[in-house]
Each structure stands twice: as C-alpha cells, then as structure tokens.
C-alpha cells in the first residue's frame, strides 16, 4: 500500500457470493459468502502464498482473480487495468497475461486431445504462428518443463500424475503470462514428484520473472515457495506477512493453530499442538462477529460483533485482523490507535 512500484495484481475488497436456493419450492434462501471482502496485491516476480482449511474460499478467490468466476463486488486490477467487470470477449486479449494451474491435471486436460493439441490451443485461440511455428513452440515448452518432444504425439492419460502436471504447466506458460494462479498444484503428487514440480516452478519464476498466487493447504510447501503468505478463514484474510515472519511470529490465533498442526518430519520435535474443535463454520450463515472467535467460543466474542475486523499493519508488511478474540491486547491497541508502528 506504500509501494513505490505499482503492483502487478491489485485486488480490493473482493466479494464472491453465490445465491443459495432451498426449500420445497426452491426459492432464494441466502448467500454463500465464499469470498467476503479480500484485499491483496502481488508484485512482479513475487509469490504470494494463500493458505486455509478447505471451504475457506481460497480456490474461489483464485478463480475469481483469473475471472473464471464473476465477482459480486470489489475490484481486480492487472497492471492498472480494471478487469473486474470486463466481458469474456473483452477479457480475451488480456488472458495471455494470467493463467491457472489446477490441482488435478487429469481433470483439466482433455483426454481426447493429444498433448501437442492441448499446449498449442492457446496459440490458435490467440492467432499466433503458423502450423510449423506452433509445433516448434510446443517442443520448446515441453523441453522447458522437462518432457521429451515425443510427448506431443501422446495423450495426457498415458502420463503419470507428475508428468501430467508438467503438461498443465507447459500449457499455462504457452502465452508467456505474467501471473499464474496455482491451485493446489502439488497436493495430488507423491513427495518425490512434488519436489520435482516445486523445483520447476521456482526455476520458471526465476527465468521468466513470473508472479504466482500459490494456493495450498500444505504449509511447509507454501513457506518454501512464497515471499509473502496470506491466511484465509471463512472468506476473509486474517493475517498477511512475509513468509519468514508469519512462520516465526504468527500473531493471529488461527494462524498459530494452523502452524501448530503441521506434522514435523522429526520425531524429536514434539511441539505442543493447538487442537481446534469442530470445523470451519458454514459460509452460508457466518457468525455476526469474529468467525474464529465464534468457533473457539471466545469470551470476547460479543465485543467482535459490529467491530471493524479488517486487516491493519502491526509492523511493516505484517497485517493482521483487528479481532479482539484472536490477537493480543498489545497488537489490538496498536491497530486501534494506529500508534506504535515501528
């Protein structure tokens, strides 16, 4: 927000609400507030990690950013251009700049198309190159993601999960995007293959200056690839900070609980776990006040109803929700009085 350089992606107060119909005679029964007022930005060449439990709205946020879903309100700016309300037709030339990689490459690759056809499709849609040139570009892409040129003639189902994810990455790279939204790109893979794909993503970022929004539930993986990390709970961000900071010094109770739940591959590191009760509450009828305070039955929950729980800065670059149930009194004082910012 005080950045000199304009961010590549700037999302402000984004909301994605889905209408719910219910009852014997289906009628409007409310909204699922999947994304409920999220603001964030991503700089060129930066990775922003996005973590949270299933159902917290992180995938919906990712899809809305690449405009696979229509936001209800708020704004998405890509290099200063507001893409929030653009029609699909008007978006098409801009789509070159932002792409997406999905969790399950088996579901996002058409089994009836050869790998060549899958990777070449973006070139055809955008009218790039003739047949021979496209073929050459596909071969370069395959080579770049570590697959042999012969892979082009085969079909996606002939490949293993890790190789399929490489195909998905090659397709996403085809138009030289600036931003790639990676939605759980390695969670379906075995650890040895996961590390290969993570290495590939890190190398590609270095070589092409890519920015990533990296959505995952594996917090160790997110820490590894991210410059900054945002923690999402029930449609809202509760904390956002540089990756090192958030893991070393989490301030929000939910972030602390999430971090303490990571199993450590070291039998000697027996850390105390913060065990949460229950699950993420329903986003159809979210609690009026602090959603996490409600889950924890926090004594100060009443105080959070009607209070402004938006993110504030407690240290340079370290943002946390001003939630009386979830942060320390000191932090709350800093946020409420705006003082003490070192």
């Amino acid at each position: 927000m005080f950045d000199v350089q304009a961010p590549l992606l700037d999302v402000a107060e984004l909301r994605v609400h889905f209408p719910v119909r219910g009852g014997l005679i289906p009628q409007h029964a409310g909204f699922v507030r999947a994304v409920d007022g999220v603001s964030l930005h991503i700089q060129a060449g930066e990775t922003l990690g996005l973590v949270g439990e299933s159902g917290c709205g992180k995938s919906t946020l990712g899809k809305a950013i690449v405009r696979l879903l229509k936001p209800t309100s708020g704004s998405i700016r890509l290099e200063g251009t507001d893409i929030t309300g653009l029609s699909q037709r008007a978006l098409r030339p801009l789509r070159r700049d932002f792409q997406m990689i999905f969790q399950d490459p088996a579901e996002s690759l058409d089994p009836r198309m050869s790998v060549q056809a899958i990777i070449e499709e973006p070139f055809i849609i955008h009218g790039l190159g003739d047949r021979a040139e496209r073929r050459k570009m596909v071969h370069e892409l395959l080579d770049r993601v570590g697959l042999p040129a012969s892979a082009g003639e085969r079909y996606s189902f002939e490949f293993s999960g890790g190789q399929r994810q490489r195909i998905g990455i090659a397709r996403a790279l085809a138009l030289k995007p600036k931003l790639i939204v990676c939605d759980e790109p390695v969670s379906a893979l075995d650890v040895s293959v996961q590390s290969q794909i993570l290495n590939l993503l890190v190398e590609l970022q270095r070589d092409f200056g890519l920015s990533y929004l990296f959505i995952a539930h594996d917090l160790s993986v997110v820490k590894h690839v991210s410059d900054r990390v945002a923690v999402m709970y029930l449609g809202k961000l509760v904390e956002l900070a540089p990756a090192e900071t958030i893991y070393r010094d989490p301030r929000h109770a939910y972030t602390k609980a999430l971090l303490s739940a990571i199993p450590s591959p070291d039998p000697k590191a027996k850390r105390a776990k913060i065990l949460l009760d229950g699950d993420v509450p329903s986003p159809i009828d979210p609690p009026a006040g602090s959603a996490f305070g409600h889950r924890m039955s926090h004594p100060r929950y009443a105080e959070s109803i009607g209070a402004d729980l938006s993110l504030g800065q407690i240290a340079p670059g370290h943002w946390v929700a001003a939630d009386p149930c979830c942060i320390s009194n000191d932090d709350l004082a800093v946020l409420r009085h705006g003082a003490g910012l070192a």
């Binding site: 040895s192 539930h217 160790s220 450590s264 591959p265 776990k273 229950g278």
Partner: protein, 329 residues
C-alpha cells in the same frame, strides 16, 4: 532398552500378486514385519509401492478375483489369518481387527442413518439387542468426541463434514475394542487442523484400549509424530525397517533418504532447489531380480544381481543390502 513387547501380529514373507493383462504382478513381494502390543507401526512409501495391498492382504480383503496371496504367513494372536476360514475371518474383521480407510464416504453406506450403521457392529459382533446396540453406538459416538451424539445418530453420512465422517469410521472400527487397528491413510483427505484432531483421538483411544495400530501413510511428518516403528516400502518390498527415532536420525537406505530429503520443512531455505528422486516408482510389470531402487536410478546393479536381502545393521534396524543403496551415507 525396555523388554520386548508381546508381538500381536507377525507378517512373514507375504507375497501378493494381481492378475492383469500384462501377467501376474507382484504387488507385495516377501514382506515381513511385526507389530508389538500397544505400539504403532507406520508403513510409508509412494503410491503404488504396495502399502495398501499389504494391509488388505492381512485382513484378506483383496479385490477378487484379481488379487491372490501366493505365499507367506500372517499370524495374529496365534491364528494364521491366511489359512483361517471365512467365518473366522468375519469374526476377526471389525471385531478384533478394526479398519479405517482413507475416504470415509466410501466406508459408510449413504442410504442408512449413522446410528444404524454403528449399531450394526454391536448387533453382529456383540450380539446385542437393538436397543442395547443403539445405546452402545451413541456412547461410541461420544467417545470419538462427536458433539450431540444422540442427534447425529439420526443423520445420514452426507450431512456430516469430512472430519466428522472420519470420526464415525473410527467409531465403527473401534466399536469392539480391537487388539489391532489398521488405518490406511486415515487423514490424507483432511485438513491439517482436522488431521491433528483425528491423530490425537486415535492416540487417546489407543491408550484407553491398549491396541496396536498399523498406520499407512505417505506423509513422513505423520509417521514421525505418531509411530514407534516404521516400515519403508518400495516397489512391493520392504527396503528398510527401524524404530522411528533411528529411521529419521540414521536413514540407511537411499530410498528412505530420498523421501526424507525431498520434503521441504519449515527450516528449508526458501525457494532453494529441493532434492528429488529421479524417475518414478518402478512398474511392477518389469521383472527385476536385483535392487529395484538401483533400477529406478538407472544403475546397472538393478539389472542382473540377485535380490538384496534384509540385514540387521543395528539392533532392530533392518535394511536391504544393496552395495549402492544401503549404508550410512
């Protein structure tokens, strides 16, 4: 060292094959390990390495007719499970051996209420009356910490969250206070926070009942936090077997080291290149006599030599003796 605990389950040179279009595939190839009373033994390895087939062989729930147990012994409290008749196996399964599968939705019947499904276990195994079984089931739901169990008994599986469903499956598995629980990826489909709840619950119930657990997972973090002993499987074989402490401190097999080094931890420098294991799990269709991991690494030792044998390199620490893969780094 404490005196050796009583062995509750002993798997000895188990061989399981699948009949496929490409011929007989050995999914489990002479696997041996034992489970002491009250302890947790983890089986770890990548997908397709034979972890689940090993578990399913123990309780003889292999897909039929493709899966066949070709050899070995499984001794559970003095019974040879591989030679037990069907009536005996039905008594053991769900009775003295409880099973939890990865996806709770497939383990539960979507058209029956939770209460009926949990009560059924008591009706069949404990021969309780309808009313007593219902009460026992409600109490069981309470023990797996399901809030408001009397109401939840009337729910259908789809009305519960993934974590709650997995609790129901745990309630089913533990209803008869089994001596052994086989948990096949019990937390893989769950969030880390819910995973922590479920692992904690399993640990508490283990202490209450005094049962042993076989925990199958690909997550080395889960292994480190919950297991006493670990069996590392690769391509249908056990490549290393040790106490959890020894395995994480001194992994001897190159495959174990590869697995451990390829996961980023909170201490790994950000965006540094992670170590990888080249290639992928060997196809069982390639009949390899030598070291299967050498074969994956493209080393000639995998091609011709005879099969490496497990050797005890330290007390309780067994490793497949391949000149290139075993040894202390």
């Amino acid at each position: 060292m404490s005196p050796p605990a009583e062995i509750i389950l002993e798997v000895d040179k188990l061989i399981t094959s699948f009949e496929t279009e490409r011929g007989m595939l050995r999914a489990v190839d002479q696997v041996s390990f034992s489970v002491p009373r009250g302890k947790t033994v983890g089986i770890v390895g990548e997908s397709g390495c034979g972890k689940s087939v090993t578990a399913m062989s123990i309780i003889r729930l292999l897909p039929q007719p493709a899966g066949r147990i070709l050899g070995g012994q499984v001794r559970f409290k003095g019974i040879d499970l591989l030679r037990a008749d069907d009536a005996e196996m039905q008594r053991v399964r769900g009775g003295d051996i409880g099973v939890i599968f990865q996806e709770p939705m497939t383990a539960l019947n979507p058209v029956h209420r939770i209460g009926r499904q949990v009560a059924e276990v008591f009706r069949i195994h404990k021969k309780l009356s309808k009313r007593d079984a219902w009460d026992a089931a409600t109490e069981m739901l309470q023990r797996v910490r399901i809030p408001d169990p009397a109401t939840r008994m009337m729910d259908y599986p789809h009305q519960l969250s993934g974590g709650m469903r997995q609790r129901i499956v745990i309630a089913l598995a533990l209803a008869c206070k089994p001596s052994l629980l086989i948990a096949d990826e019990p937390t893989t489909a769950l969030d880390v926070t819910v995973q922590a709840q479920i692992l904690d619950l399993m640990k508490r119930l283990q202490d209450e009942i005094g049962m042993s657990i076989i925990l199958i997972t690909h997550d080395l973090g889960v292994i480190a936090e919950t297991c006493d002993e670990v069996v590392v499987m690769y391509a249908g074989r056990v490549v290393e077997r040790a106490s959890a402490a020894a395995l994480f401190e001194h992994p001897r097999h190159a495959y174990t080291r590869g697995l451990l080094e390829s996961i980023p931890t909170l201490e790994t420098p950000s965006k540094s290149l992670l170590k990888t294991i080249p290639g992928m799990v060997a196809s069982l269709a390639d009949h390899v006599h030598g070291c299967r991991f050498c074969q994956r690494m493209g080393r000639s030792a995998g091609a011709s030599n005879e099969r490496p044998q497990l050797a005890e390199v330290a007390p309780g620490h067994w490793v497949e003796t391949c000149p290139l893969c075993s040894g202390e780094h």
